[in-house]
Amino acid sequence: MSKHVINVTVNGEAHAVEVPAKRLLADFLRDDLLLTGTKRGCETGTCGACSVLIDGEVVKSCLNLAVQADGRSVTTVEGLGQGTNLHPLQTSFMEQGGLQCGYCTPGFLMAAHDLLSRNPSPSEEEIREGLSGNLCRCTGYQGIVDSVKNAAEKMHGR
């Protein structure tokens, strides 16, 4: 049915793409832009594996239509850092046991990014609450919490 040309900036790159109205943002990113770092893990908005930033704020891309991102700026895990130019969160997740199977990792990175942008030195409790919209089955969350703490310290040059 209705199709729309959306103008959306993804990871700094401007796109004008025609999408059907029903295309979820998650599918748009994965299937149209081939940014498969954003994962899908549930249909209830609970797992957070599909988390991305829209205009700097974390949302679940499976609870968004691509048309809702028209005129906005989306950041996915691919836009956080690549190659030798990694975000401190990414290196911390590697070094502090913030990941195992890795499926939830992109979502956690985006949620943690949102958290640290609002609260640069969160307590452990604040980290846990800030990540409460994401599920991980491997790590027991401790490695993830430690990683976020570690990244916050790095970002403060401590």
């Binding site: 940014l35 498969t36 954003t38 994962k39 997740f93 070094e95 499926y103 990792t105 991980c136």
Partner: protein
């Protein structure tokens, strides 16, 4: 050995691609012409399929194939019991059983087509309650068979005499519920048939070779006509070993359309087709002398296999006898029955039946210790089996870290001081609990081989490739193998590549199950690397004119121990290994098959090369008005023999602790008329970051003689003690003993009410 890498908390070798979002899982794969599959499931727990009409679905534009049970090969597949076809035929035996499947040019069209398939069912009386399964008039899940899947009877020593010798005999019945593995990556498969008719399957699996065997059986075609490649796996926890069904459907569709077909479960579908742990009712009776010595143990189990057998019989065997081996027991008896019901199939899950018994056993020991005025830590210590001993079921222990685990968690939680503090009297009351458990590292059970083969190549640039069929599903197996190899070859970790398991190119392997990969796969890597090193040093000896035993490899350079100027960089040596008469690239193979035995008919025999132990202590706070249980502290020690990578072991320990918390307190499959009513993450609530405490994980290194560098399995053991430790802490807090999982607020409140009323009576 100089170990710059083994024993270090290095990042997983898969970490870099994962944090960039560039790790490729099966659902991320695409191929030209690829179709999308969707599966139609029966809505009834038990019904006869009277008629299926797919004509409208077939006619939908974009639909390329619609298949039903009648189209599938008639050969039955299964683990030991061959009883399933790829899609149901004749009748459905559980709500959610796969009945038809569609391949179409988009997922939406495939989904639309499902609505157009007409199926007429005749509902049959359903057997939902396992307790009724063996009654004469119970509905038969499999026509012409009674509902008993398996019966296990084990008796050793003289149980009655043991009870007679006891100062305290305690019996209780426990209800252990089923848990969903909850891996974050729902099951996904991409299957494709090439122009020669060979089938290639990329799938999320814990074992490519067991997947290939299952595909060969279900599709009724030769093993060698199938290639299974493991994509990155987003968690398994037992559910992706051999009972998983959706890969068969994807592969079957691919053979029908000659186009690649991708089948990615959504979460609801994964709940409906996933593999769940085996629920059971467990009656336990134990005798103990005043000093805490266990004199006898008697167990009766009724376990629910669901509609098919899968690995559930093996799981129940573990429940029936494994925990006996961690103590010096003499008189034990188990009577266990596994029955079919019209519910989803149950089977392998992290801990493999151990969690069920660990809950009962540790609950029991805590109650008995209390009654005898003993400390439960002391009871475990007193009975703990020691290295060098053989257990009642014939298990031989080269290493046992149980007592060290107990010491660590007892100190870590502050047991002594906290136990002495006055009991809380307010609305919220704190309590302490502990539990301990054991698990196998390896298991000679899938046939008379528990081996692991590694093919190791050292390339012209001095860097290594490891080909192994063992699988990394997130637990870090590849990192473990790379670390052992790098250390042995004296090269940096980044110079080792672990190739993805691929049945066409990897050596035959059993895969990630029974905590066998570190002890067996790691040992094979070590042996292969030792061989490669010998070849390298021999070649370098020719090159440098020094005896091989004077040479060593350090940081990628071969050097003489005695002549300071005799050095050759590895690339130079490796090229020399090729470019000489009779030369070749360095390619070695090693197989390690541990010195273990299959159990005999009486379930006796040393099945594993090593046995792992764990202990956990927790502190809880119970809200006596709302029934909420808050975990304040958790201290979990895992005896992994030797931590090849402490960060990975901690990760496994913490992940296991939280999965156990979920099983004990938060996760609860709910059914309505035999249908799963909460098959989604909004209603089946797994632990979140803010629902668990800061976790303490510690490591015991008991140095397993059979293991590579002393290592044995970690992780599965760690899931075992959590739930009973919590139940024990709750009793300590509020004097209410919960014997039925999950521990819901309602049960806490009911327990408190009963206690109050009991007090007044």
């Amino acid at each position: 050995m100089n170990s710059p890498i083994v024993g270090k908390a290095v990042p997983q070798v898969t970490a870099l691609e994962k944090i960039q979002g560039r790790a490729i899982y099966t659902g991320d794969l695409k191929q030209p012409g690829m179709l999308h599959a969707k599966v139609l499931r029966g809505p009834y727990p038990h019904a006869r399929i009277v008629r299926i009409d797919t004509s409208q679905a077939v006619a939908l534009p974009g639909v390329k194939a619609v298949v039903t049970g009648a189209d599938t090969p008639t050969r039955l597949w299964g683990v030991a019991h061959k009883q399933q076809r790829i899609l149901a035929t004749g009748k459905v035996r559980f709500a959610g059983e796969e009945v038809a499947a569609v391949a179409a040019i988009s997922e939406d069209i495939a989904r639309d087509a499902l609505d157009l398939i007409e199926i007429e069912y005749e509902e049959l009386p359903a057997l939902l309650d396992p307790a009724r399964a063996l009654e004469a008039e119970a509905p038969q899940v499999h026509d012409g068979h009674d509902n008993r899947v398996k019966e296990i009877r084990i008796a050793r020593g003289d149980v009655e005499a043991g009870f007679a010798a006891a100062d305290l005999v305690h019996e209780a019945t426990y209800e252990l519920h089923s848990q969903y593995p909850g891996y974050m990556e729902p099951m996904a498969t991409l299957a494709s048939v090439d122009g020669n008719g060979r089938l290639t399957v990329w799938t999320s699996t814990q074992s490519v070779f067991l997947a290939r065997a299952r595909l060969a059986e279900a599709l009724d075609r030769p093993v060698s006509s199938i290639r299974v490649i493991q994509a990155m796996v987003g968690g398994g926890f037992g559910g992706k070993i051999v009972e998983e069904r959706s890969s068969l459907i994807a592969a079957f569709l691919a053979t029908r359309v000659n186009r690649p077909v991708r089948l990615v479960n959504n979460r609801l579908e994964d709940f409906q087709s996933g593999c769940f742990s085996v629920p059971c009712r467990l009656w336990l009776k134990m005798g103990m002398t005043k000093d805490g010595t266990i004199t006898a143990k008697d167990v009766r189990i009724l376990a629910n296999s669901g509609a098919y057998a899968g690995l559930a019989p093996e799981v129940m065997l573990v429940t029936a006898m494994r925990s006996d081996n961690m103590h010096r027991l003499e008189n034990v008896r188990s009577a266990a029955d596994l029955v079919y019901t019209n519910t989803m199939p149950r089977g392998a899950f992290r801990g493999f039946g151990g969690t069920q018994m660990a809950f009962a056993l540790n609950s029991h020991l805590s109650v008995m210790a209390d009654k005898l005025g003993l400390d439960p830590f002391e009871v475990h210590r007193r009975n703990a089996i020691r290295a060098g001993e053989t257990s009642v079921h014939g298990w031989q222990f080269g290493s046992t870290g149980l007592r060290e685990c107990l010491d660590q968690v007892q100190a870590g939680i502050g047991w002594e001081a906290k136990r002495r503090r006055p009991k809380d009297t307010g609305v919220r009351q704190r309590g302490l609990g502990m539990a301990a458990a054991m698990h196998v590292s390896g298991n000679r059970t899938l046939g008379n081989w528990d081996g692991s083969t590694v093919v190791l190549r050292v390339n012209e640039d001095g860097r290594a490739f490891i080909a192994s069929g063992e699988s990394d599903m997130g637990q870090g197996a590849n990192t473990m193998m790379a670390q052992i190899c790098a250390d042995e070859l004296g090269i940096p970790l980044s110079h080792v590549t672990v190739l993805p398991p691929d049945t066409d190119t990897s050596p035959f392997a059993l895969g990630s199950l029974a905590s066998r990969v570190t002890i067996n796969g790691g040992k094979a890597v070590l042996q292969a690397a030792q061989q490669a090193k010998t070849q390298i040093l021999d070649a370098a000896s020719g090159l440098l004119g020094c005896p091989a035993d004077d040479l060593e490899i350090d940081q990628g350079v071969v050097r003489s121990r005695t002549k300071s100027n005799a050095t050759a960089a590895l690339p130079q040596v490796c090229r020399y290994h090729v470019f000489r008469h009779g030369g070749e690239g360095i390619l070695v193979r090693a197989t390690y098959d541990p010195p273990t035995k299959m159990m005999d008919a009486d379930h006796y025999g040393n099945i594993a090369p090593g046995y792992s132990f764990a202990a956990q202590a927790v502190e809880v706070e119970v809200d006596t008005e709302t029934g909420q249980v808050t975990l304040l502290n958790s201290c979990l020690a895992d005896d992994c023999g030797k931590a090849i990578n402490p960060m990975a072991v901690h990760g496994q320990t913490n992940g296991a602790a939280v999965q156990a918390i979920g099983w004990a307190l938060y996760e609860h499959l709910q059914f309505e008329d035999g249908r799963l009513a909460n098959g989604n993450f909004a209603d089946y609530t797994m632990p979140t970051a803010d629902s668990v405490p800061h976790l303490q994980a510690s490591i015991v290194e008991s140095n397993e003689p059979n293991g590579p560098l002393g290592a044995k399995g970690a992780s599965e053991t760690a899931i075992l003690p959590g739930a009973p430790a919590i139940a024990n802490a709750i009793e300590d807090a509020i004097g209410v003993r919960i014997t039925e999982l999950p521990i819901t607020p309602e049960k806490i409140l009911a327990g408190l009410r009963a206690k109050r009323e009991g007090g007044h009576a």
